[in-house]
């Protein structure tokens, strides 16, 4: 059923198989293998206490700006009853994880899962370590452990008025047997978790000392600039590097699959020489592909007879046919690129005995698998050393192409560490783009303006079909396509009860590689549903908030965040002259989110987003201040995409190769953000992504209120917003 064949499939299946290698079947032991010998006593896999009372907390997930490292450390430290001022962190490597039977569990940092997926076992790690430390002190004093208590890294035996510190008993504690199922604190008793503590590791980010992957230094390091075939499905036929090889600093020019890499003493010299290389490509079957052809393929899918069903209630066709009034609209959302501030890069050193890679990755285990497979060494002869990420947003999560490519380059100069950096242009050309989709929505209203039937046909790209086919259902359906539209479940439940409903997906997979992009399919699903809700409300002559409330009686948590933003945002009250409001709500990654946006559009059609009130119910809030940062940040990311960004295709390749043609939201376009963090308890939702879902639809609904014009094709910049 794919209109466009998937010629990259072979390569991509290999990459995805590698990335999926570790995703299943791990258990979290805190037993014997958790104990290892090291300079400072490792109480268990998660906690090392040094003689000076410094507590080192091991972090399996990765910090890329979203605050997970601090949040995880807070959770462990709280159960540990540690002194927060003495807490530091370190990353184990995936090689160590493998050698220790995955004692640290999953390394993947994506899907807003960093905290919520590991929240039980990391806290158990902290609690077990505390119990062992207290036991060691009690043993030393020869008193019952029940008479001892711990607070801020100090253990006290009140009866004899004795105290000791974690650092003094850590060595003895490390020799004790680990408790099997340590009890966890009730969140109301948290003293470190749940607090708006400042982030760890901020100092180096204000004085230039923080070492990102691109900053990595090693003795004898060479640098590589690389250019891969820019055409989707194209092949490098030949290249002429005779001029480049004579240029200053150049050591070697090598071919790696469809790419050419110039290796030189400095990266600038490598890049300069790369520009002197002449390439001859076989453009392959997609050499003439352009955005218009892709759009036509998707458009055909809007009315195709076959589609995968995501959510079905009653009989939508019959209900719409019998409705008093029918409304139809078609929306489209383009490809978008992650555009992390730090372009993809990795340093690799290969010898026939060992391949080591230093890089910024959201999934070091997947990088290990990709490198192992790429260079042909077994997993236990490879390792990945994690360095700080200059942004991730999903680009560094699934595809580990950058780590693999660096390793393949290094393999051609064994023993020499080589740092490969993609230029911004290379990064733009070889992304894993937010997938392209269109959506046709048809709604039926009865004579009283009630929604009696809704059909929602999504046509477009499946992420998993291209990069992770093992994640598809047996019949080929991609469940991820329906994020936030599902009839039930804790991850992302549709927030409206509509008696007759059909949400389905006509899968159309262009050869442009898709990927997981902050918010993923929730982003366009929220645009489609929330904008159309406003269209239906307008058609029914009902206030958009009231129209939604009628459909949300069975969805109290969805409704609670919506009510919260409506109230704080002043819904129903007069706004400043020329300012108009829009609402949106959605659920994804386990959290309920809503937004109320205020915009104005001037006579020349220029949009200004003044203010957004946002609410999130993420169940438990580990660090409210950091959550506020994620709300603001997700709005900058989501609004930038909605307002400004599209990746287009011409002659089989990406057109927008730098920030001049792929504009990023800047400070002057950033609205004021007021956050309502309202955890209702009883579940754990994510915070890195969810609020992004509602940024665009709230603004689009406010634009419609301001102009009378409904923007249905993104980005907004392609639309004339002057009043109709």
């Amino acid at each position: 059923m794919n209109a466009i064949d998937l010629s990259r499939r072979n390569f991509l299946v290999g990459a995805s198989a590698a990335s999926g290698a570790f995703t299943l079947g791990f258990t979290i032991p805190f037993g014997d293998e958790a104990l290892a010998q090291s300079a400072a006593p490792e109480v268990n896999a998660w906690v090392v206490v040094k003689p000076d009372d410094t507590v080192v907390i091991r972090i399996a997930r990765v910090e890329m700006g979203q605050g997970t490292l601090t949040g995880l450390a807070q959770l462990v430290a709280d159960e540990l009853d540690a002194d927060w001022s003495k807490v530091t962190t370190e990353y184990p490597t995936p090689g160590q994880n493998l050698a220790r039977k995955r004692v640290w569990g999953n390394f993947q940092t994506a899907g807003s899962q960093g905290i919520r997926q590991s929240v039980v076992y990391v806290r158990q790690g902290g609690a077990a370590a505390r119990m062992m430390l207290v036991q060691a002190a009690a043993d030393g004093w020869k008193v019952p452990v029940a008479e001892c208590s711990a607070s801020k890294g100090v253990i006290t035996h009140k009866a004899s008025n004795r105290t000791t510190t974690y650092g003094k008993v850590a060595e003895a504690a490390a020799k004790l047997e680990a408790p099997k199922e340590p009890a966890l604190k009730d969140p109301k008793d948290w003293t470190i978790a749940g607090k708006s503590l400042k982030r760890l590791n901020q100092g180096g980010k204000v004085n230039g000392a923080q070492v990102y992957s691109i900053d990595h230094k090693m003795p004898g390091l060479l640098n590589a600039a690389v250019k891969d075939c820019p055409i989707w499905g194209g092949k490098l036929k030949s290249f002429d590097a005779s001029a480049a090889e004579k240029m200053p600093g150049v050591k070697k020019v090598v071919q790696v699959e469809n790419a050419v890499a110039v290796i030189a003493d400095t990266w600038w010299r490598a890049k300069t020489a790369l520009e002197a290389v002449k390439f001859d490509y076989d453009p392959g079957e997609h050499g003439k592909l352009d955005s218009a052809a892709i759009a036509a393929t998707l458009k055909a899918g809007l009315d195709a007879p076959e589609a995968f069903v995501g959510n079905k209630q009653g009989d939508a066709d019959a209900a719409i046919k019998g409705a008093a009034k029918t409304i139809e609209a078609v929306y489209s959302v383009p490809y978008q690129h992650h555009a992390t501030m730090e372009p993809m890069n990795a340093t690799a050193r290969y010898t026939p005995e060992k391949c080591e890679v230093w890089t910024a990755t959201q999934n070091a285990e997947a990088a290990l698998a990709a490198v192992s497979q790429g260079v042909g060494l077994p997993l236990d002869k490879c390792d990945i050393y994690r360095l700080d990420l200059g942004g991730g947003f999903g680009r560094r999560a699934t595809s580990q192409d950058f780590a693999r490519q660096a390793a393949l380059i290094a393999k051609q100069m064994p023993g020499v560490p080589i740092k490969m950096i993609w230029s911004r242009e290379e990064d733009q050309l070889h992304g894993t783009y937010h997938p392209i989709t269109q959506c046709k929505l048809t709604g039926g209203l009865d004579k009283d303006g009630n929604l009696v039937g809704l059909k929602m046909r999504i046509s477009g790209q499946s992420i998993q079909a291209t990069i992770r086919p093992e994640g598809l259902d047996k019949d080929g359906r991609d469940a991820f396509t329906f994020q936030g539209l599902n009839p039930g479940g804790a991850e992302g439940q549709f927030g409206y009860t509509i008696p007759n409903l059909l949400i389905d997906h006509a899968m159309r997979n262009p050869p442009v590689r898709p990927g997981f992009w902050r918010g993923v399919n929730n982003n366009q699903n929220a645009i489609y549903t929330e904008c159309f809700m406003d269209e239906l409300a307008a058609s029914a002559g009902v206030d958009p908030l009231e129209f939604r409330r009628r459909l949300m009686k069975n969805h109290p948590k969805h409704l609670a965040v919506l009510n919260a933003v409506a109230e704080k945002g002043g819904w129903g009250k007069p706004a400043a002259p020329g300012v108009f409001r829009g609402l949106a709500q959605h659920m994804g990654y386990g959290s309920y989110v809503a937004a109320c946006a205020e915009v104005s559009v001037n006579a020349s059609g220029t949009l200004k987003v003044h203010r957004i009130v946002a609410a999130t119910d993420c169940g438990h809030a580990v660090n409210p201040r950091q959550i506020e940062g994620q709300i603001e940040g997700s709005f900058a990311y989501g609004l930038g995409a909605a307002m400004l960004q599209e990746i287009t295709i011409k002659d089989g390749q990406v057109v927008e190769q730098n920030f001049d043609t792929y504009p990023i939201l800047r400070m002057d376009e950033m609205p004021a953000v007021e956050s309502i963090v309202m955890p209702s308890g009883g579940f754990w939702g994510g915070v890195g992504e969810p609020t992004i879902f509602v940024a665009a639809p709230a603004v689009l609904n406010a634009i419609a209120a301001a102009t009378g014009k409904r923007v249905r094709n993104l980005p907004i910049k392609n639309n004339d917003l002057r009043k109709a």
């Binding site: 070492v211 730090e342 603001e632 400070m667």
Partner: protein, 151 residues
């Protein structure tokens, strides 16, 4: 060989004259706090001061700089991260991934030197550096705190 005055020190740089200042700073001088983001003076991650003026170093060849011109990078803004902006950045917990923050702080420092009490419009005009994590509102708040205009 080109002589550059970086953070108060004159250094010999062995690089082709058309080498951008950014890469001379990172690769020849070895100071990596100044970041590569785009190479076309769009994102500002590479911002340094040249004679006190915020300058995007990725698009400025070293042949265009004289030995007499004083270049300051994030590492030279203060000896111990004690510049009021650096302190405000930590106090307000501004950085997320942090990659752009060297450039943001250098741009802000040049702004406050020129305009000690900037209006919101001044800040938004001069602070055109890109931050993908979206820390803009905290950056603005930190600048206003240092300027004493936070309200």
């Amino acid at each position: 060989m080109v002589k550059l005055n970086v953070n108060g020190r004159t250094v010999d740089v062995d690089a082709e004259p058309d080498t951008p200042l950014l890469w001379a700073i990172r690769e020849q001088i070895g100071l990596t706090g100044t970041k590569y983001g785009c190479g076309v003076a769009q994102c500002g991650a590479c911002t340094v001061h040249v004679d006190g003026v915020a300058t995007r170093s990725c698009a400025l060849p070293i042949s265009g700089i004289t030995e007499g011109q004083k270049i300051v990078t994030i590492e030279g803004l203060s000896p111990d991260a004690s510049h009021p902006l650096q302190k405000a950045w930590l106090e307000l917990d501004v950085p997320q991934c942090g990659y752009c923050q060297s450039g943001q702080i250098m741009a802000a420092a040049a702004l406050l030197k020129e305009t000690p009490k900037p209006t919101d419009e001044d800040i938004m005009r001069e602070m055109s550096n890109i931050c993908r994590c979206g820390t803009y509102n905290r950056i603005k708040a930190a600048i206003k705190q240092v300027a004493g205009t936070a309200g």
